[in-house]
């Protein structure tokens, strides 16, 4: 409980210039060692400049400070990453830190640890307890409110199915001689797969939720003078456009956020687009491919005056290869109407090809609608399907899903239902953590509710 390593963004707000991710616990340095590369060595109370790497990909250039226990805020080993990317970059780094073994810190948890490790004096004791209490209560309150609607019900439903299944498995274990038809392996697998599909749907909805909350990351790519900057200007000049461009001299990606009709778009490499009109040319094909990795959507602008160039083809192939969402704009339709036919034919195997003129603004609405459609945004805001927005919920759903699939795998490999049952139990436990219920007694209650046993 108090022994694992926790991490969280310790600066508030979406649009701060610098975000700090704090990691506290035994493994904090180990985690940093795995994701941080620098020419200097980390040492107590020293601040080091370097890069955060996810495999070979640079996420951000950062400053990392390190405090050895007990001389830190929490009294444990603490690392702090000062990153200067936007919200999205910060979240990516946090996710990486969690992937490497840290747990997302609960509210007030850093303070709690600081207190527990004697970093605060006794007079603060009661107020700290109050804060922890209040925070937990508030969190519970918010959680319940949020949970009361759809999420609570869907988690409860899926968990209920698991508990029911567990009861059936348990009854065959604890009452082996009773004349209940034991579940066949494939029956169990089918039931688990059903639940697994649902969980996956909810987990995926976190991305939808993210698109709503944090926006869609977009890259605009295309040849020189194809109209990329025009498109960017059209987008930026919309009524509600917010520009959060941070002057980034050391980074290769600059982000600009625009909001059009409630859709948040984070447009990557706007600087590149504005400067030279040819991102690919300027930063090189390799780097532009790196951008493709980082975004959710690529808008390819093709200059109808030039037709489909070799570079365009290469780019489109790469996007296909990476299986990314894309929209191809055949631009300058106003002045080269006669060429559309040929290019369209060349691209007939591709979906999402639209005709635009950034000069007359023809096709812009189509583009917006297309984006909304591709990311399910309309559907999400219109129907009441569940969206997971809370990262803790997503984490628990992920864990539940992983356990479930482990169980499926174990049953498929014939390892034994009593082993798989441990993972099914864990899966139910994680769902229970979302809605705050315990597994064991539930299973036992279910056994006696459902089955007629006894001497």
């Amino acid at each position: 409980m108090l022994t694992d390593t926790i991490a969280a963004i310790s600066t508030g707000g979406n649009n701060t210039g610098i975000n700090i991710i704090r990691i506290s616990g035994e493994n904090s340095k180990k985690i940093i060692d795995e994701i941080f590369t620098a020419s200097d060595k980390l040492d107590h109370q020293k601040i080091i400049y370097g890069k955060i790497l996810d495999d070979d990909k640079v996420l951000d250039e950062v400053l990392v400070s390190y405090f050895i226990k007990p001389n830190s805020f929490t009294g444990e080993n603490v690392c702090e990453i000062n990153c200067h990317g936007g919200r999205r970059v910060t979240l990516n780094i946090l996710e990486l830190v969690i992937k490497k073994g840290a747990r997302l810190a609960g509210p007030g948890e850093f303070s709690k640890r600081a207190f527990l490790n004697g970093k605060m004096d006794l007079s603060k004791a009661e107020s700290i307890i109050d804060i922890i209490n209040a925070k937990t209560k508030l969190q519970t309150k918010i959680a319940t409110e949020q949970l009361e609607g759809g999420l609570y019900n869907i988690v409860k439903t899926e968990r209920e199915k698991l508990i029911e299944l567990l009861a059936q498995i348990e009854v065959s274990i604890d009452y082996p001689e009773y004349d209940y038809k034991e579940l066949e392996n494939n029956e169990i697998i089918n039931k688990l797969k059903d639940i697994s599909i649902n969980l996956k749907k909810y987990i995926n909805s976190y991305d939808d939720g993210k698109y709503i909350k944090d926006g869609i990351n977009v890259a605009i790519l295309g040849g020189t003078n194809a109209g990329k900057s025009s498109l960017l200007n059209i987008l930026s000049n919309s009524d509600k456009a917010i520009v959060t461009d941070i002057e980034g001299t050391t980074r290769d990606i600059v982000e600009e956020t625009v909001i059009i009709d409630d859709i948040v778009l984070n447009i990557f490499d706007t600087a590149g687009i504005r400067d030279t009109e040819d991102v690919v040319e300027k930063i090189g094909i390799k780097k532009s491919f790196a951008i493709i990795d980082k975004v959710d959507l690529i808008i390819i602008v093709i200059d109808l005056l030039k037709g489909l160039t070799e570079k365009d083809k290469e780019l489109i192939n790469k996007i296909m290869e990476k299986n990314k969402k894309y929209i191809i704009c055949l631009n300058k339709i106003d002045v080269s109407h006669e060429k559309v036919g040929k290019v369209k034919k060349q691209l007939q195997s591709f979906k999402n090809v639209i005709e635009t003129s950034f000069f007359t603004k023809e096709g812009i609405d189509t583009l917006k609608n297309k984006i909304a459609y591709m990311f399910n945004l309309e559907q999400i805001s219109n129907d009441d399907s569940i969206i997971i927005v809370n990262q803790r919920h997503k984490e628990l759903l992920d864990k539940s899903y992983t356990s479930l699939n482990k169980a499926i795998n174990e049953i498929e490999k014939n390892i034994g239902v009593d082993i798989a049952e441990i993972d099914i139990k864990n899966s139910a436990k994680y769902l229970g953590e979302i809605i705050g219920e315990e597994v064991t007694s539930d299973v036992i209650n279910k056994i006696f509710e459902k089955f007629c046993l006894g001497k």
Partner: protein
């Protein structure tokens, strides 16, 4: 008339399965011990089913054996049919169950107790526990006063026992023995709150009246396993001739009789007030609650080798006697049955186990221990498991030693006692494998590896048995080591062997331990691949196989246990006044003050104590630890 009858260190009230283990543990640990039983002929009686073990209960018996208890040895000596349940499932849920010759079991235990050096057994009803802030002894109905420093109460279902058969009810213990009516008052005078629980048992029939040709035969296993680790290679026990049991079913006629007479059931008329167990409902309960079920299983289990009496498992009832006769006779094979003993329900006084410490000593009443059904459990094995722990801890109390407390990661006994003491129970508590969080580690096959050392340190396991155990453990470890280093090359001979076993061929060399993880391979069938394999006892081979095959899963559970232990090791003093801890919820304050948990871990399992309350407790104990000395000085 009162008279001074004798002086003992420890007195055990009751001679059932809890009392026996308690008395033997105490006597074997050198304490002068007296055991009192209402009727000497009911010592170690099995007033319900004539069997020992079963799912998770078999685990308990093996744990008792590893600690140095008697139940496993007695069951091995007196079994008449043996079966490893769940053998088609994984090793964690294998459970041994044996049908027992009930009279033989009684004689075996009686004789064991008679021959125990420090132990005296008396037929007498204990009517009073003498207590004046300290345990002084007990008084019997005949006025005998026995002094003692500790008392272990193992009264089972005898306290104010009341038997109910339809509209008829009378004061009685089980099996027609008279109840203990006085002791309840004595306990209440000491401030102990009592509750009423209920259980029941089916009829016994004379097998000469039964037609077994209408039933399915149930055989025991050919390859018998023993409860006691001492008997693993005892040929006489392993090769014993076994009796048959039979299976038949209720039908719609049976259910009709029940439905027509349900208004005469004391459970439905409200006559029975005690809380009955969900896991052994009466047949009328089953029929009323599960209306869609057209038949229920009925097992016919002989009560012994030299008797015709048979136990009708699955049909406990508290319906009137004449309804019972009609009901039983609707069942195929039982058409001409005559009841030698009718089915009955029994109500009895028991305590709220949350008033006990994990040592099974009553909170605030030093030297007074409770074990078995009086604690709200049910089952012979659950009783015996508590009995041995109470016996050990009463002894250790007198010796001023720390109590032996098995935690949830160490034994089913630990799960059982922690469940009772920490969570409490609203119905007779039955052990189940699903109650254990660490089922994969708490297997019946490794109970000796888990507990022999503890039994030895306590003093119940002899040096000889311990050395034999160390030898076995060494064999297991070195064979696992060898298998982990044994390389199997991808040559033709090996691949042919693998192919024959239905396993895929090797491309590169692997360790034998890796091969063993394949589902189709096991320790025995890979012998050909492993020429230099030593000749090892079967129980050692079994351990090697399980520990290698399930290594990955075992590791995960061990990791979970580490986390669990951290909270268990954060101790809470019993003198903390939770009312004064700011930040705790009202419910948590009350529950914590009542139960006084011994650790943060235990506190976290009390219902009504939330994670936020646990944070507060953690903060609190850290403050205490930090301020340490100056705090405790103030308190002095």
């Amino acid at each position: 008339m009162e008279y001074k009858a004798g002086k003992y260190d420890i007195v055990v009230i009751g001679g059932g399965h809890a009392g026996i283990e308690a008395a033997l543990a105490s006597a074997r640990l050198g304490k002068k011990t007296a055991m009192f039983i209402i009727n000497m002929d009911t010592l170690a009686n099995m007033p319900c089913n004539p069997s020992i073990g079963g799912t998770s209960k078999g685990h308990l018996v093996r744990e008792i054996d590893a600690l140095g208890g008697q139940m496993g040895k007695a069951a091995d000596a007196c079994y008449i049919q043996s079966k490893m349940l769940n053998s088609s499932k994984g090793p964690a849920v294998h459970s041994l169950r044996a049908q027992i010759d009930r009279k033989k079991y009684h004689m075996y235990m009686k004789n064991t107790l008679e021959n125990e050096e420090n132990l005296d057994i008396y037929q007498a009803e204990v009517t009073d526990i003498i207590y004046d802030g300290k345990i002084k002894g007990i008084k019997t109905r005949t006025g005998a006063i026995y002094e003692s420093k500790a008392v272990i109460v193992t009264t089972g279902t005898y306290l104010k026992g009341k038997v109910i058969i339809g509209e008829v009810s009378f004061e009685s213990g089980p099996d027609g023995v008279f109840p203990a009516n006085e002791l309840s008052h004595s306990l209440q005078r000491m401030g102990i709150e009592l509750r009423r629980f209920k259980t029941g048992t089916p009829a016994r029939m004379n097998s000469k009246d039964l037609d077994f040709s209408k039933m399915e035969v149930q055989y025991g296993d050919d390859n018998v396993k023993t409860f006691s680790f001492d008997n693993e290679e005892n040929k006489e026990i392993l090769n014993k001739k076994q009796i048959k049991c039979y299976l038949t079913y209720t039908n719609l006629d049976t259910h009709k009789v029940i439905k027509e007479n349900i208004h005469r059931s004391p459970l439905y008329s409200g006559e029975i007030k005690g809380i009955g167990p969900r896991y052994c409902p009466s047949i009328e309960d089953k029929v009323m609650r599960f209306k869609d079920k057209e038949r229920h299983q009925i097992f016919i289990e002989p009560m012994g080798e030299n008797t015709n009496e048979s136990y009708i498992q699955g049909m406990s009832s508290s319906l009137p006697e004449e309804v019972q006769i009609k009901m039983y006779r609707t069942i195929p094979g039982l058409e001409n049955s005559k009841m030698m003993r009718p089915a009955y329900a029994i109500e009895y006084d028991c305590i709220d186990p949350t008033n006990l410490n994990l040592s099974l000593e009553y909170k605030g009443l030093e030297g007074l221990f409770f074990a078995g059904q009086v604690n709200g459990s049910s089952g012979y094995e659950e009783a015996a498991a508590q009995g041995i722990i109470a016996g050990i801890n009463a002894t250790r109390k007198l010796d001023k030693k720390e109590p032996l407390i098995l935690d949830r990661s160490e034994a089913y006994i630990g799960v059982l006692i922690d469940d009772l003491v920490t969570k409490g129970t609203n119905e007779p508590y039955r052990m189940m494998t699903s109650r254990s969080e660490y089922r994969l580690l708490l297997r019946q096959d490794n109970a000796d590896l888990r507990l022999t050392e503890k039994g030895y340190n306590v003093g119940l396991v002899s040096k000889e048995k311990y050395n034999k155990f160390l030898n076995k453990r060494e064999m297991i470890y070195s064979e696992i080591e060898r298998i982990k280093n044994k390389k199997i090359s991808p040559n033709e001979i090996n691949n042919n062997i693998l192919e024959k076993l239905g396993s895929s061929k090797l491309e590169v060399g692997v360790k034998l331990s890796e091969l063993l993880k394949r589902t189709e391979l096991n320790y025995a069938n890979t012998k050909e691949l492993d020429k230099d394999r030593p000749d090892l006892p079967e129980s050692v081979q079994e351990q090697v196989e399980i520990q290698i095959k399930y290594e990955g899963y075992i590791k995960i559970q061990l990791e979970q246990i580490k986390g669990f232990k951290k909270l268990e090791n954060r101790k809470l003093n019993s003198d903390i006044d939770y009312e004064k801890l700011k930040g705790l919820s009202l419910e948590a304050r009350q529950k914590l003050n009542k139960q006084k948990p011994s650790s943060i871990g235990q506190a976290s399992r009390i219902s009504g104590v939330s994670p936020a309350d646990i944070s507060v407790l953690l903060i609190y104990i850290n403050q205490i630890n930090k301020k340490g000395d100056e705090f405790s000085h103030e308190n002095d």
